[in-house]
Amino acid sequence: MIPELVDPVVWSDIKNQIDGDFGQGVTQKVLADLVPVMLERNENQSIYLIPNDWVRSLNMDFEGFTLSSLGTWLGDLSDGRFRLSIAILDQIARYTDRQLVVSRRGAESFTYGRSILRASVVKLTPTLKRRQRVIVKDTRGDCIGLAALSVDASRIDRLGPEKLVAKNLVDIGWYIRRFG
């Protein structure tokens, strides 16, 4: 398996999605001087960011071996949809205010794969709208995952404590649940 440079059209879609979710210029900040490359696997493609000077080693075919991962895992493309990887979230978190801070109990339940209820919300950027993806942090400021708002932030004060605020898209418990 040989990594390929990401097609500019595909890259521009990915960039628009990330910037749309987290703010203009965020993708470029995360990318810095790295280069996006793509690895085909089954029906999906995984996108990685690698240093410029690795690009010439892409011509290597890793004969007899299967390339499984390289550099920084940005995310996966499947059926034309791009999903951010858990591994890139704390970098994105540095550059965006689109964040949701959850209580200690909320964080615990979130890292077991559960979604976020009103009772757990400590802080949410008020201008955010339904479907917005947000970086989820605990009260210490650790980035613990990614969620999608199920309500406009402006409306959460009207919700009861058990009402869903954000759906878990991925969380750091994945590392443990997936491979123990």
């Binding site: 299967t66 390289l70 858990i86 613990i144 590392y175």
Partner: protein, 326 residues
Amino acid sequence: MAIKRERELAKRLAKEYGYLPYMIERYLALWGEEETREFLEACERPIRTAIRVNTLKAEVEEVIGRLKDKGVKLERIPWLPEGFWAEFDELSPGALTEHMLGFYYIQGVPSMTVTRVLDPQPGEIVMDLAAAPGGKTTHVAQLMRNEGIVVAIEQDRLRLGSLKSNVYRCGVTNAIILRGDARKVRQLGIVPDRILLDAPCSGEGLIPIDPSRKTSKKMPDIRFCATVEDELLDAAVDVLAPGGTMVYATCSIAPEENEYIVDAILGRHPEMRVASIDQEFGSPGYTNPYGIEMNNSLSLARRFLPHRHGTEGFFICKLVKEGDDQ
């Protein structure tokens, strides 16, 4: 007569401690009765949990502070700046947020020591030929501060998943992960500055952690492992850059998988020599195991032994290849 007595003693001890007799016979031949008993007793005691703070994700002091706040008791390991013995009591070491955040890796003391002995430097090309689940790959990347390349090879598809998971969790960004048989590493055409071969082995050092090992492996299993270890080490020697450094390690205490393997390599590869290890730990490698004469420089290798060092058993040998550093 003496042989008969030793056989009977081996049988008795094997029964008493639940081992296959051939193992005890080898221990008696290697260590004599007193040390064998010490070893068998030590293997009945649990090994202390240890963690390595992952400085790619957090500062040592920050992690110590956070874990202490949670009631984890930590004690520094003298020769490992990022290593700590850790008592988690009723907490589960793998389930803490700090673990999921990649702030630490739960890792045996000998394993952390292996990577420190390799001493990978930022900017180098380092190969880890038997990488999953990535304890040492992530440590290599940590010591390289994510600069340079660590090529991590693993053959087993399932274990590859845990390798990737750990690499991502620990914030490693300079790894190239390949699935395949590291005995074919020559085909890659990569000339690494350093190689880590934490070889697949019979696990004879892990008895304190996994008592089923007392009966799960027979002599042919050890011979089979030794063959693979020899082939892996041979391939590693071929690709290592002139002037390069390599560490051969196993979690086995069997000389058949350790000193024998390195001794044979030294015989076939005059360009290789055993190098001394700077860190102070463990005891010297054997130069005369079972009365078989080995290359004297094997005393520069190090062994961790449950009855001497309170850790799982491990063998660590640092080798250098003649030639100019590039």
